[in-house]
Symmetry: C2
Subunit: 158 residues, 2 copies
């Protein structure tokens, strides 16, 4: 999913495939962002990013994010996504995504060994009109599973 | 997804919702397993487990794993799943699952702070006849997204 960052007023966006919930309180997410990505240096320097959750309508833009580097180009413009101001971080929201998570780095002690960042979600945005969004899930090498229906089962699990 | 373990010949199985790929080489997975789970102590002691990937036909069993504890009962029997011998680890495979990952603990340095284990996959099993399996993805509080179709887009991404 697209992760946006910003350094000195210049926004960037990358495609991330490997992430997990880490904790409910504070709400936090762990994710792998390799230092081969231009965004890794920006995230390390600013400690802020936005995780933008894409649906199938944005698949071409997501792949575009994953196949270009922001070292030399303005990727938001290159892949036709629209940066919009966030409320708590300098990194921009991606206007086209139905859900956005403004994040700050919570724990960077696993970045050297595992390129693994723990991020605290400081603000979440969601379009309440979108029920069961057809989110994209990278299976590798350009294959994406598209979310199907949601079922409900009696459970005590959070 | 169900994670199986074994201690002194006694198998256990729990439901895990929070995991991510960590690296291609060695193939590794990061996952959150809280010490509130009986399985956490077994995994810490034995450093071995199996991640069993369920499809929609197994949804009742998965929820059963998440709503009972193996401290007192034989959970494989209680939820009607079948343990089968693995090849590299003492933890059992779950026969009903179409894909199984035999794992050893690769890095336990994040367990105290984040209940986070990095596991190396030492053997993977998959039923090649199952294309686009309808896997289960926990959205929380008993809601599960069922995998929809897989699409392919031209991409250089691994």
């Amino acid at each position: 999913m697209p992760v946006s960052t910003s350094l000195k007023g210049r926004a960037n966006i990358m495609a991330m495939s490997w992430q997990t919930m880490m904790e409910f309180e504070p709400p936090s997410i762990g994710c792998v962002i390799s230092d081969r990505n231009h965004s890794c240096g920006i995230l390390t320097a600013t400690r802020e990013c936005v995780i933008n959750i894409p649906t199938i309508e944005l698949s071409a833009q997501v792949v575009g994010c994953g196949n270009t580097s922001g070292r030399k180009i303005d990727k938001f413009a290159a892949v036709s996504l629209t940066p919009a101001p966030a409320s708590h971080v300098s990194a921009p929201l991606t206007a086209e995504c139905h859900a956005k998570l403004e994040c700050r780095v919570f724990d960077a002690r696993m970045t050297a060994r595992h390129s693994f960042f723990v991020l605290e979600v400081v603000q979440a945005w969601i379009d309440p009109a979108r029920k069961d969004p057809r989110t994209l899930h990278h299976r590798g090498r350009g294959h994406f599973m598209v979310a199907g229906e949601t079922i409900r089962l009696p459970s005590k699990m959070k």
